[in-house]
């Protein structure tokens, strides 16, 4: 077969050359981190399940998603299914998420939670659904069956929404039908994102990045002009240099 005919077949996705990335028909939701966008097969979070395997909350796993969620929130809604803690409204609003289109589902049985997730994904009114497996577990160690995951993936595809599933690290050895599987771990240099399963690509890729927004970096590196430990005044006053209000509770 001549090269041009073979290339044409490859382009029409009729033939896949192993080792070459399969071009995805639908572009994914851009993550706003260029290194991660390049590593993901669809150029962003796909309209399918992305599994994020992590053992502890607070290492930046949500900040990795927040820029993409802010983009989604502009015209569609977001549903959180059984998050481990309560979302703190000022932080989410500051990240650019429209709070009128954010719904949070509290602890519910796995069957109900998965049915609601499927309903939200399929409806088309939702751009992203975040599911925490730990919140759905009735007994520790209970996992979402693969059949249910397949249904969620089909629902995400039909509703053109991204399903992001947070699971424990030990699930990495269990097979799963998710399109993308990522392991997250905190290192000294930043958050290490290991993509060990990607639909249409082979091999594992590791990306290290800093998920927190630039404003938080500034906040962490901020040092006031005067050392605060000598003055019991509020921080605002120290920045503005105005006289204190009589709001001292003592």
């Amino acid at each position: 077969m001549s090269d041009s005919v073979f290339d044409a077949l490859c382009e029409q996705l009729a033939v896949w050359k192993g080792g070459h990335p399969v071009p995805q028909r639908v572009p994914g939701l851009s993550t706003r981190f260029t290194s991660l966008d390049e590593a993901l097969p669809a150029g962003g979070w796909p309209s399918a399940i992305t599994e994020l395997l992590t053992d502890c909350t607070g290492i930046g796993e949500l900040s990795l998603l927040l820029p993409a969620l802010a983009e989604v929130s502009r015209d569609r809604g977001i549903v959180l299914v059984t998050p481990p803690w309560q979302p703190y409204a000022p932080a989410w609003a500051d990240a650019g998420i429209d709070l009128d289109r954010l719904l949070i589902l509290l602890s519910c049985a796995m069957r109900d939670g998965l049915a609601c997730a499927e309903m939200s994904l399929r409806s088309g009114a939702c751009g992203a659904v975040l599911i925490w497996e730990s919140g759905l577990q009735a007994l520790p160690g209970q996992t979402i069956p693969n059949l249910a995951l397949r249904r969620l993936q089909l629902a995400a595809d039909s509703g053109n929404a991204a399903a992001l599933l947070f699971r424990a690290r030990r699930q990495s050895v269990q097979p799963s039908p998710a399109a993308v599987r990522i392991q997250l771990q905190r290192r000294a240099a930043g958050l290490e994102v290991t993509l060990f399963k990607r639909r249409g690509r082979s091999g594992t890729q590791q990306v290290t990045l800093d998920p927190y927004p630039a404003s938080l970096q500034t906040a962490l590196s901020y040092r006031p002009r005067q050392p605060l430990h000598r003055f019991p005044w509020p921080l605002q006053q120290a920045i503005r240099g105005t006289s204190p209000s009589s709001l001292s509770a003592r």
Binding site: R76, W85, I104, L105, L106, P213, A219
Partner: protein
């Protein structure tokens, strides 16, 4: 004037048949205690050999598992009222007959696309309600009723729309269609007068002298030579409809059929009044003093039966039936003005928000109350009050998040994405708090002192800290006793 007659043949049978699964034999009997006789039988019973007029005991002997219902005039009246209330969405002039309804549709023809389309819609709509109707049209109400009755035996008969030709069309109809005394009809038959045309040919004085005024009065009213004013039906202020099931249903998915019929009635009633409703109550009666209630709430007033049905299905999915259902009732108390949403060709913001509202309704129907909520930013420095939960999912006012002063961008950025439900006390080792290891404080303290004006004063110094696992935490030191607490996590 153009009248459409919708008649329900075998009304007692149709009323008992609502909500019944189609493969059960059913007869309706009269009220005699000694020897009840069969009044009507459904096709399955008739195939087994039961004829109207035979004794119920004989019928029971013929068919195994026969369902026998007593005729209930109150239920029949309620069914006619339900049909009339539903028919009000097509015209404001609806009259009740003993076995059907009459609609005056001349002003509504253009809106509903012509007589043929309207007739088809009426037939299909009545089928959705669980009724099989015979429909016919005529310029006068009595003639419409006669044509509809005649159609039961001659389905090919067509009504008439023009008044001048009405007399000619009425001529071949039999006199038995009128509700005169049987003696009158028998005597006229002996005289050789069996059709309306033949009666009209007889001399008027003679007929009046022999049979009274009623026969000629009826003929004149049917012709249109004498006016025939009717009392219009007025809908009740509250919607309440009840279907008593002929056979008990012990599975929830069988119950969906009568619920669908009730919701179709409700849609007709709401459309007639141009109102919608935000709250429905479905009561499933399971016997004496035993029932269970399903309350459905919508975020915005709705009137479409499909939307209600979707929510009812979600709610019934999580219910477990403890006893068989004997009757189902639907009640709606409060009505709100209904504005149908504009449907545009291209999906845009309006249709997106409609889809979002429908999703919110379905989620609240699916889960128990208080399990779905949305957030708003509260106007308070205390972190536990700065994030408020609301279980009413429709935001009525667009919330303006207060724009932070530019100097304090540092502060608004240093808020965690997760907040603990209540602050967790941290053990202290070597003067430093511990959470998953030794916490390293990364920022200078941020002091929050607020709430001295109500019973919940807080006085805390907040820090952002990191632990060896890599978690970024929001911890604070309380001024009251100097204890350390964990309040949030930067996810």
């Amino acid at each position: 004037m153009l009248w459409i007659a919708m008649l329900l043949p075998e009304l007692p049978l149709q009323v008992s048949h609502r909500g019944l699964l189609p493969d059960l034999p059913l007869v309706v009997c009269d009220h005699q205690t000694q020897r009840p006789l069969v009044l009507c039988a459904n096709p399955l019973a008739r195939n087994a050999g039961i004829v109207p007029g035979m004794a119920v005991a004989a019928a029971r002997a013929l068919v195994d598992g026969l369902i026998v219902q007593e005729q209930d005039p109150a239920r029949e009246q309620a069914a006619l009222h339900a049909l009339a209330g539903w028919a009000l969405q097509f015209t404001p002039t609806v009259t009740l007959e003993p076995d059907g309804v009459l609609l005056e549709v001349q002003p509504s023809l253009r809106l509903f696309g012509g007589l043929a389309r309207l007739g088809k819609r009426l037939e299909q709509g009545a089928a959705q309600l669980g009724f099989a109707v015979s429909i016919s049209v005529a310029p006068t109400p009595l003639a419409a009723r006669l044509f509809a009755l005649a159609r039961l035996s001659q389905p090919a008969l067509r009504g008439s729309t023009a008044l001048p030709r009405l007399a000619a069309k009425l001529a071949p109809l039999p006199l038995a269609l009128f509700d005169w005394l049987p003696e009158t009809v028998a005597t006229l038959a002996q005289l050789g007068v069996t059709t309306i045309g033949q009666l009209r040919d007889l001399p008027r004085d003679g007929v009046i002298h022999r049979f009274g005024r009623q026969p000629l009065d009826d003929l004149d009213r049917a012709d249109g030579s004498v006016p025939d004013p009717r009392v219009t039906f007025a809908p009740p202020p509250r919607f309440y409809s009840r279907i008593e099931l002929a056979a008990e249903l012990d599975r929830l998915d069988w119950v969906l059929l009568p619920v669908q019929q009730l919701l179709a009635e409700l849609e007709g009633y709401l459309r007639a009044r141009q109102h919608g409703t935000q709250a429905l109550r479905l009561v499933f009666e399971q016997g004496r003093d035993r029932q269970f209630t399903v309350d459905i709430a919508l975020g915005a007033p709705g009137c479409r039966a499909d939307d209600f049905m979707r929510l009812v299905r979600e709610r019934l999915d999580r219910c477990v039936l403890e006893a068989p259902v004997q009757a189902i009732a639907l009640a709606v108390d409060a009505l709100q003005p209904y504005v149908p949403p504009n449907r545009l060709l291209v999906a845009d913001a309006a249709s997106q928000s409609l889809a979002w509202r429908q999703l919110c309704d379905r989620l609240t129907a699916r889960l128990p109350a208080e399990q779905v909520y949305r957030l708003t930013v509260g106007n308070d420095h205390r972190p536990e009050r700065a994030s408020c939960r609301h279980t009413d999912l429709q935001a009525t006012t667009r919330q303006r998040v207060s724009v932070p002063v530019s100097d304090i961008d540092v502060l608004s950025a240093s808020r965690p994405t997760w907040l603990l439900p209540s602050p967790r006390p941290l053990p202290v080792a070597g003067g430093q708090p511990q959470f998953g290891g030794h916490l390293t404080l990364l920022t200078e303290p941020e002091r929050i002192e607020a709430g001295w004006w109500d019973d919940d004063p807080v006085s805390r110094d907040y820090y952002i800290a990191r632990n060896p696992r890599g978690q970024l935490c929001w911890v604070y030191r309380d001024h009251a006793a100097g204890h350390w607490y964990l309040h949030g996590l930067f996810g």
